[in-house]
Symmetry: C2
Subunit: 346 residues, 2 copies
């Protein structure tokens, strides 16, 4: 038999104290079946010995691994740091660890990643699906963080309401012609956001949509978005459906000598790490990731607790939409009365 652990185990503590392992176990777990005097003595001794409970032993006996899986099929998602941080925090608060799995953007390997987690004995998992992916039920409880368009067991930011915040903000600033800039109209998230914006426009406002992936399929990756043209046509507000697209818009406008926010406004979504850093800093809408993670983890733990037998297809039934928050920065503002563009031909 292999030399398994370096540290002491319950048995070592027990014999060195002349008591039984059962008593040590009870004392350390605080179940109170041990006299306070003895319990304290045991705890002290355990601490002195640097006792660390064996996770494997406990897991085997109790049937719970104390681990949740986090599946991020599209890890290049710039929201990933915040999601991971929030999930890790919520899980740790509940005494759980978080195992990550990534399918490197490949839809096919998503199932494989999920299986790896199941084999590692996760008690449940949180999945942030790739765009438009339907999650096949796994053999453990699952919580999905996505747009609420996915049926069931989903926690999501209220992207639609976030869009309304943008619309209201742009209306307040007096903008009349909005250009919505998204990446792909098949993304549920982006669609919800765009619909939210449209629904929040006043009657005297109008908007068009520009989808970058479509454009690039025609004009090539990294092509100009033609925003200078849009400005000439009278658009004064560029509402991107993600900060990523807002960054592209902002820099392209600046490249053409258009001043933000004096001539036009630019807004984004997500409040990515760098969005306060641009000059001007980016107005954006932020999801409350901590809240979302908290709900997802809680739903998962509920579902785990409910079913002592985590047999197939049990999923959280909870559906939640967490409100988003507008963060106003310098990239959006009223147009200057004389918008002399001072444009340059480029």
């Amino acid at each position: 038999m292999p030399q398994l652990r370096s540290g002491p185990n319950l048995s070592r503590i027990a014999t060195s104290l002349g008591v039984s392992v059962a008593t040590v176990s009870n004392a350390l777990s605080g179940k109170g079946r041990v006299s306070e005097r003895l319990a304290e003595k045991i705890r002290d001794h355990a601490r002195a010995l640097g006792y660390v409970p064996s996770h494997a032993g406990r897991a085997l006996r109790t049937g719970r691994s104390g681990v949740l899986g986090l599946v991020l099929p599209d890890i290049s998602n710039p929201l990933f740091p915040k999601i991971a941080q929030a999930i890790e925090f919520a899980a740790a608060s509940a005494g759980y660890g978080v195992l990550i799995a990534d399918s490197r953007g490949d839809v096919a390997t998503q199932t494989e990643a999920i299986n790896r987690l199941v084999e590692r004995g996760v008690e449940g998992m949180i999945i942030v699906p790739r765009r438009a992916t339907r999650i096949a039920a796994a053999s453990c409880p699952v919580a999905v963080i996505d747009t609420a368009s996915t049926p069931g067991n989903t926690v999501a930011a209220d992207h639609w309401q976030g869009g309304q915040l943008i619309a209201a903000h742009l209306a307040d600033l007096g903008h009349k012609r909005i250009l919505i800039i998204g990446n792909n109209p098949e993304s549920n998230v982006q669609n919800d956001r765009a619909d939210g914006i449209r629904s929040g426009l006043h009657e005297d406002m109008s908007c068009e949509s520009l989808w970058i992936e479509k454009l690039e399929r025609r004009a090539g990756t990294g092509c100009s978005l033609g925003l200078a043209r849009k400005v000439e046509q009278g658009h004064t507000a560029f509402a991107a459906l993600s900060d990523l697209q807002a960054l592209r818009a902002l820099t392209e406008l600046q490249l053409h000598g258009i001043k933000v926010p004096a001539n036009v406004s630019v807004t984004g979504f997500d409040d990515l790490i760098w969005s306060p850093v641009t000059a001007p800093a980016l107005t954006t809408v932020k999801m409350d990731m901590d809240k979302i993670a908290e709900i997802a983890v809680e739903a998962l733990l509920d579902s785990i607790g409910t079913s002592s037998i985590p047999e197939g297809r049990i999923v959280t039934a909870k559906v939640d939409r967490v409100p988003m928050h507008l963060i106003i920065r310098q990239s959006s503002g009223p147009r200057s009365p004389l918008s002399n563009l001072e444009r340059e031909n480029s």
Copy 2:
């Protein structure tokens, strides 16, 4: 005793096939102590039953959890997605899972996060330390991803060499006066990069350094970097020590009507997700994260394998510097012969 698992275990397979658990175990693990005929029969049956081995049982018996820890004390680090992805991939390739731990930027909780991982039985961990943090030896092998300034057991990109790439590139473009833009001169990474740049300048080139944190302590967060002034003074190249700072520089320059790259060049470091998206796209230097992760994980596994008793303070002795790669995009280029700035007062 609790209903532990839903699926079949070795014993179930064994009895239903009329063989012993030992034989089933041997057949499934492919150790070859079973006749091929029987082994195949067992494997088929196991598959048909949907057998998933119990991780806890195996871990308890073998003393190996098959899990590595990834400690990210500064999860807001924009490199995090790439690091996590690379580590997860390298670990998965070696049959290991990855447990994440985050100390939310708080140096004090780093130790706590490490302890949580130890309690969860990780066999080793990879730590990306907070700036200037010294890692206290944990009770398992540790690999550190950082600048090579940290002594011992470290894997890092060769930031210094990356700086030289930038210097050579700017020299090629004919730039004479460089402004290095960093966040904090106490960051080993940033210092290595800056030193690399300085060391690579030709004799007829000069450079100054601008540290944003210092500036902001005087002038307030989000203050102007005064780059327009620097351009007037004759600087033509702005070499940021991270894409984050490059973004700030690029947008500030554009805000002031300075054209990139016609008037000045801007370069960054890290090749963050959005750096190809700006207009103009950002020239940058990229670390080979996959390589770094591979080395870190390999070093860890070596160290784990070596010591059957992973008792205290065993660390990887390997020190590696992985070369960086220059990615030339539009933000750096030769100055236009007539650099009529067409500046605007702002």
